[in-house]
Symmetry: C2
Subunit: 239 residues, 2 copies
Amino acid sequence: MKKKLTIDVCFSPSLYPVYHRDDCIVVVIDILRATSAMCTAFHNGVEKMIPVASLEEAAEYKKQGFLVGAERNGIALEGFDFGNSPYSYMTDKIKGQTIVISTTNGTQAIEVARNASQVVIGAFTNITALCAWLSEQNKNIILLCSGWKNKFNLEDTLFAGAVSQRLLKNSKFNYGDAALSVSFLYQQAETNPYKFIRNSSHAERLAALGLKHDIKYCLALDKTDIIPVLEGKYLVKLS
Amino acid sequence: MKKKLTIDVCFSPSLYPVYHRDDCIVVVIDILRATSAMCTAFHNGVEKMIPVASLEEAAEYKKQGFLVGAERNGIALEGFDFGNSPYSYMTDKIKGQTIVISTTNGTQAIEVARNASQVVIGAFTNITALCAWLSEQNKNIILLCSGWKNKFNLEDTLFAGAVSQRLLKNSKFNYGDAALSVSFLYQQAETNPYKFIRNSSHAERLAALGLKHDIKYCLALDKTDIIPVLEGKYLVKLS
């Protein structure tokens, strides 16, 4: 019998070393809002993105004349061009540009996974394209939730559940405990994810900042069929 | 409004530093089978247990004449007195004794949480006593799942869900994303936890070792009302 491929879920960037395998595809997930915003940026014509973990690097790129998105704790930082609201990337000025982005959680997750075989960006907004592509690969998959400051969060977990549920229908994948658990969890949220997550800690944080429309956008399916993929220091469109 | 107490869930000993707060009660969970076995040992009259992370320490205690339980990868190690099957602790020879125990995951989890305000041992076999006691304390709670070699596992998560579900009925507790998620997961498993977890990775591992009866025992509720608690290097009965 051919050995099945595994789908694993890692709930925190700081737990990633426990899950790392050189031959894995890592899907980085930061639903509210970094990976959702990245998908939006590519859909709106950005050419490349440079995800950076620290604000020092972001500021350095800004000095060099790049367009830079920078967010911490849900708030777009002054002196930069964008935060991580997907809406801020719906603009013609990003077309054909290389833009830099640094966020509280998502860009940290990309950083820790950098040495995986392939690192792609997942969000509800590109879920169907992502799952179709993952199904065609013959590699083990790690769904890496960015979480909140290295703690578990609900919205990234639900997305991991949505992906697991779709992939487990494909018999070439085997489920571990985590993929099984998150797909059960997603079953309960599926009919109304917004209702399910509106009491989550980060949704509350964003709602307090007046960003409910961001949450709704980030939970909407299939706004794009682009899958951003890491190539060296750049995120580019997977071709 | 009085600030509510938090219930958090940590899915891996190696993630514990992210969750640690000096003032927390930590519930260490290793359902299959270390914490279930510890509850059984105290119920059968053991006086104290010394949990140790390494086999070197376990062997050292054995040399000194202690009764010692030692398990790795589901298997009781040769040259010691017990593994971590609860059934092996249902014996008169432990009555009044101080026994040492080292297991694949559970004793590692105790080790990382050692500096918390209080460390107690949780299992389905003492869940009602544990939840009643936790409800009476005025402290934040961390449910620490031992997992499997620092990865997420299903059975510890389900127990965290069972505890969260019970405690969240008490309005003095606030739920974070993790407690909310695990209690939803437990809802789905509640009517038949054995059926739910029998395909989990560790249940499969134990079943392959002929230990299905251990799994069933470890999922049974309220075999004891003893709560083991860490005092210095010893686990003793909480009085």
